[in-house]
Symmetry: C2
Subunit: 454 residues, 2 copies
């Protein structure tokens, strides 16, 4: 079929990647080592064993370019992968742009987001090590939902600490996690010492991902049969998500196209890493390709944070990582893109951004919703508010192409659908969503509390 005829490009099932891609093999500058949060000395793999299985720890530090996907994981990927790469023909027409706009539809996963790509292998490697129960945090709820399902499919228990503001903004997220057999409570909770302390300090806190992580890790440390699982940020998560970008490359080859710009929304970094990092070898080989992460202006980690060691959680239970950060005490406002409310950024994304291989922009909430509405009314899919950030930039890029009268190929990751975010659209439609402006002082205040690394 000619490249200009197809709307959906769907790879055959046998072309689901057999290997994950690990960008560490190709990085011009290696990652700085993680530090033990107590001693602030470089981490030994054994430091991670109380909460992670060895299979994932080995991936975390692996320098291998390709890591084989275990058969049971790949069999479950077949329930929804390869996801379609869709040409946004109606959107192109309405924008009257010479650009080709494609989106990779990760919302096609049964949980409605890309998060299942990492939940399945994480639970698999935990099960392999005899773990019976997994704790985690969730922001918007997409990660918690994915982990709940993956635990059910592999026969493990799941316990999800959900950031309080999202728990109430997205009430049916709890329902779907329970339907998949998981427990889900708002964080901070009174189930952990860290949660109780946070509630004492501020009973009205909207919660943060960093606090929910502290609670989930505390819970995991307290039980022998329990491990902790993280849905973004860490290297092994970015590795798992690499199947997104690998599929995008193969699908574009089918229609003889190649991206000028690849876009992902960016919170902890997993979906941006997933779509963008498999293009790093091309970029290093001299291909002219831009890789752009889009973060919320209310939580502008890459664009206004610093590249420094910081804790991933709010109380310093997990390793200190060198990353772009707004400080582990930063509490972003309760924007509707709950999955992007994280103070830090994946160390892989951070290092590559620092080295000039990735770009970043920040987008305000209302322009993101406006782009999401246009997308829904032309391409029919209601996007998650997180993904709306990527759409905003893709549309702006297509409009620039129009202004300049130059064709270009734009690809973005539609990391999730918005069927469980209609509450947020209601707020937007009734004019109740605010565009928060962060002052320089507010950003500086939290950056003053970074750990002092020797």
């Amino acid at each position: 079929m000619r490249r200009d005829e197809l709307t959906k490009i769907i790879l055959p099932e046998e072309e689901i990647p057999k290997f994950w891609y690990n960008v560490q093999a190709d990085m011009p500058n290696p990652l700085a080592p993680g530090l033990n949060p107590q001693t602030l000395q470089p981490l030994a793999p054994a430091d991670l064993e109380p909460i992670f299985p060895m299979g994932l720890i080995l991936q975390e530090v692996s320098q291998e370019r390709f890591i084989e996907i275990p058969t049971p994981v790949r069999e479950l990927y077949k329930q929804y992968r390869p996801t379609p790469l869709i040409r946004a023909r109606n959107l192109e027409r309405v924008l009257d742009t010479p650009a080709h706009i494609y989106f990779k539809y990760e919302g096609a996963s049964p949980v409605g987001s890309h998060k299942l790509n990492s939940a399945l292998p994480q639970v698999f490697f935990n099960k392999q090590q005899g773990i019976k129960r997994i704790t985690t945090e969730t922001g918007a709820g997409q990660w918690g939902t994915a982990l709940a399902l993956a635990c059910k499919l592999f026969g493990l228990e799941a316990m999800v600490y959900m950031v309080k503001v999202s728990f109430y903004q997205k009430p049916y997220r709890r329902s779907i996690m329970e339907l998949y057999g998981a427990s889900c409570i708002p964080s901070p909770s009174n189930q952990t010492a860290n949660g109780r302390m946070a509630l004492e300090k501020d009973p009205e806190t909207p919660g943060t991902l960093a606090m929910a992580i502290s609670e989930a890790v505390e819970d995991a440390l307290s039980r022998e049969d329990t491990n902790y699982s993280l849905g973004s940020v860490l290297n092994h998560v970015c590795i798992h998500q690499s199947i997104i970008g690998q599929e995008v490359k193969a699908a574009l080859e089918m229609v003889e196209d190649y991206p000028d710009v690849v876009i992902g929304c960016c919170g902890g970094g997993s979906n941006f890493a997933g779509i963008a990092l498999p293009f790093i070898p091309d970029k290093l080989a001299g291909k002219k390709i831009r890789l752009v992460g889009v973060e919320p202006a209310a939580c502008p980690t890459l664009t206004r944070g610093v590249f420094a060691y910081d804790f991933g959680d709010s109380v310093g239970l997990v390793p200190a990582l060198k990353m772009y950060t707004l400080g582990h005490d930063f509490t972003p406002s309760g924007i509707h893109a709950g999955g992007l409310r994280y103070h830090g950024e994946s160390p892989l994304i951070s290092q590559l951004y620092h080295d000039g291989l990735l770009e970043a922009v920040a987008v305000k909430q209302n322009p993101a919703f406006e782009a999401a509405m246009l997308f829904a009314q032309t391409e029919s899919i209601v996007p998650a508010p997180e993904s709306a950030h990527a759409i905003r930039y893709a549309i702006d890029e297509a409009l620039r192409a129009k202004e300049e009268g130059v064709a270009r190929t734009i690809v973005f990751n539609l990391s999730g659908h918005g069927f469980l975010d209609l509450f947020s659209y209601d707020k937007y439609l009734s004019g109740e969503t605010e565009d928060v402006e962060l002052s320089d002082e507010e950003i500086k205040r939290n950056l003053g509390k970074l750990p002092q690394v020797p």
Copy 2:
């Protein structure tokens, strides 16, 4: 690829059918004519012109076997079709059945159900005739959502009367319709004379599809630029949905399989017609294949109704049709499968059922939810409560295959996902869903009010 290896069978985009299939060309006994609701005399096509465009009226009475799909409709089908046919490998494993279980995943449509298959052509033919605004009713909200999107894509206004009990059970259905630019109000409403009368009679009524139809038709009759649109029951709707079954046949050929039994849940009949009727020619040619409609025990139109002329709405504004019916005054209890709460049944399904070519069974709400939970926890997709009825029967059939030690191929239509039905799952999980038993008297009472046809 060998038939036993694939999990998802996805036809190439160019194999989206180019023609709808019209079973009227193959029926052993023709449909009884529709009757003018005032005179109860056979309907002339002109009787339908005040509310339907000529393109759809011609389809309604067509005896042609194949009807060409207009290019603009087929282009929009490409946004989500062909939908995948998925082998339920995990469910098979858990049931330990020798049966092959496949499901056609119509929830893959951007609105989450099969309804868009008919909304797109209905709006297209209305636009072709210069209509600017379309009214409709919706039960669970799936049809209203599809019509809202189709109107937006073709640039028409949409006005949706939503059955009151569903409006409050599924609050975010209104949000998504508004996001697509439609207006949506609970029915009975005070916007129409029929609605006001119904509210006077019983301000607490949960509403019925029949009443919502009366309101939508009254609205359409009152404005020159406005037509009415129906999401099920009528011949042209069943014709549009035939792309489901046609795709199923082609996909099964790819893996060299053929169904012993094809299953669809059954309210007005459109998704059951869609998956089942394209197999009628095979059955007439002697193939041993069972086609089973699954209705809710709380609204058992085929299994406990009568085959007689009745009105499609509650006040007799739309033609009287010969169909299985529980009487146009029947108010089904507020079960969560709101899309199956209709007193009548598609005349096509009714006639073919009467002639022994289709089967029907009734399923109670709790066993349907129980089946849906097992499905979600093995096949990962959360089904709409309507589709759960089909799953219940598919599982029972797979268990019978196991008991009998005989392999068989079971195919059902997963007509929609349940992301907007989590309220209902909450109720089920907290033990608040009831199994209604209808007495013979209750059924007889409403059947006493059928129109007396001369």
